[in-house]
């Protein structure tokens, strides 16, 4: 596909042009003091620090709450208590500056959500312009679990930040269409092509070759489950749920009905297996009433059950859980231990 470039000085114009057709979001410093996804326009530009945003992009595919159905909740109304799908909001979204780890998470989440019409609609209504990484931060580890700092999985366009321009390589038909029809992009110069090549080569040299997913798949399930080290891993956990909320590939949800003044809706929103109520039966019996069981289940799901079922590991190595876990539980250590068992 034909690549383009955009001058850094004209980035604002590009965002402006894209905003005519899409709701554009990009990473920027928030007024809360951290770096996260913000609505962009010609004046509000994305900021590309090294590193991932506070939260992942799952909120764009899997919003909280997501209305599954609406219904009338007064018994005497016609159609009372009949569930109806909500009116489609047809806004299309464009995410500018998605790191390879986050882009890959959309592909991974699509596997369990293959038959989920709500999720799939958002995937087809969203454009991802990714930004490849020149170096990782101290907490990220995409190379260990099937990803790469220059990975393009899940992207419509892959961007590389060069000295004066952003090199834009379309990955999907959608991406090609957008670049061909927007100003102010132009064809790359010879030296810009070379700079992009050089960037990719340098990054490739850092890549790991370990096929972590197949090593984990080959391990015997109960051997991992009954290992002694889970006690030490889970002991400091306070079941706060931070890991599950920030993780791009944690996708569990709860469904609840709400009614207010005669109107009702059935919504879903993120749930966390870190909370005891996650598995509690109405009788009071709780199969994972122990904290150790909950912590072990989360890691086993992401690093063993998911790859056994779908192939890849349910983790993109973004490092958010490593950075923000209040008790410093490190999934990299858990992974290393499991690989050596």
């Amino acid at each position: 596909m034909k690549p383009f470039v955009v001058e850094k000085a004209q980035l604002g114009d590009l965002i402006d042009a894209l905003s005519k057709e899409y709701e554009v979001f990009g990473p920027a410093q928030t007024d809360k003091g951290y770096y996260d996804w913000q609505r962009l326009d010609g004046d509000r530009l994305p900021e590309f620090n090294n590193g991932v945003t506070k939260s992942s992009i799952k909120t764009f595919f899997f919003p909280q709450p997501e209305v599954l159905f609406e219904f009338k909740a007064r018994a005497n109304e016609p159609d009372a208590f009949r569930l109806k799908e909500p009116q489609c909001d047809s806004a299309t979204t464009l995410l500018f500056g998605v790191r390879p780890c986050d882009a890959r998470s959309v592909t991974l989440n699509s596997m369990p959500y293959a038959n989920d019409p709500y999720f799939q609609k958002r995937v087809s209504d969203t454009v991802i312009i990714g930004l490849l990484c020149s170096e990782g931060c101290s907490t990220c580890f995409c190379k260990w679990i099937g990803g790469s700092p220059t990975g393009k999985e899940g992207m419509d366009v892959a961007a590389i930040e060069l000295d004066d321009v952003f090199f834009l390589e379309p990955i999907s038909e959608k991406g090609q269409q957008i670049l061909e029809n927007v100003a102010p992009v132009r064809s790359p110069l010879e030296k810009e092509h070379e700079a992009a090549e050089h960037f990719l080569e340098k990054a490739k040299a850092q890549e790991g070759t370990q096929d972590t997913a197949s090593t984990l798949r080959s391990k015997e399930l109960m051997h991992l489950y009954e290992a002694g080290f889970w006690k030490q891993v889970s002991e400091p956990c306070i079941n706060c749920g931070t890991c599950t909320f920030l993780c791009p590939t944690c996708y569990c949800f709860d469904i609840q009905d709400e009614t207010l003044r005669g109107k009702g809706r059935r919504i879903r929103y993120w749930d966390s297996c870190m909370f005891p109520l996650f598995t509690q039966h109405a009788s009071g019996h709780n199969p994972r009433g122990d904290k150790l069981k909950r912590v072990r289940n989360r890691f086993m799901h992401k690093l063993k059950y998911f790859p056994d079922r779908f192939g890849p590991v349910s983790c993109v190595g973004c490092g958010r859980c490593v950075r923000d876990c209040p008790v410093n539980i490190d999934i990299r250590q858990v992974l290393r231990t499991m690989l050596e068992l």
Partner: protein, 277 residues
Amino acid sequence: MNPYLPYQAVIDDIVVETEDGNLKTFRIVLENEREREKWNHTPGQFAMLSIAGKGEIPIGIASSPTEKGHLLFTVNRAGVVTTALHKMNVGDPIGVRGPLGNGFPVDSKLKGKNIVIIAGGFAFTTLRATLIYMLEHREDYGKITVIYGARTPGMLLYKEELKEWEARDDLDVYITVDREAPGWNGLVGFVPTIAGQVKPSPENGAALICGPPIMIKFTMPPLEEVGWKDSQVYLSLENRMKCGIGICGHCNVGPVYVCNDGPVFTREEVQRLPVEF
């Protein structure tokens, strides 16, 4: 096709099954004629009963697919949604999402086998569906034995049908209660004890066992003593569910989702899973 959207249905009849009033059987009829005719399920499958404004509950389908035109669900009053359901009346609207899960392999692995159905308490529901299906296809199965027990005579489900089944000569029925009770002339003893007395032969046999975990735990030794293997025993597991289609994460037992890979598993499969149910 939206897998979260229930079929619109209505409550057609309500029967109180137990003396404490906590178990009711709801007869539910799908509103749309085409959906009603297209509905087909395998005994052992369940459906989500949906009450708009309260939520959904996964309930085993107590009726056989051969009982056309309606669905039966026997529901225990336990939490928010079941309490709301118990307060509903004939004629009230309700949603049904299903059939979900895998069901018992009545058309494959169980065909030609000698079937032993063992149930305790109100776990008998999907086994009623299975038994009626098998009786409708009687030549497809060998000997059929039913061992069913409850705490007291008043807590037995489907009392009228139990009498009909006891009267038939093409199946052996053993109904028991935990303790002696006034007016009760049948067997007395826990289900595992009765299983130990009946000693069903494992020869070309398949056992379908549903009940509280403790009942299953104590029923296995008398069966193993007469030679039953774990691969011949089918269990139906339960867990907290939300989506019912293997996505939301609540019902997993290790790598399997009870709602989608189950709820029916052989004991051999269950022995290889973590005990998280």
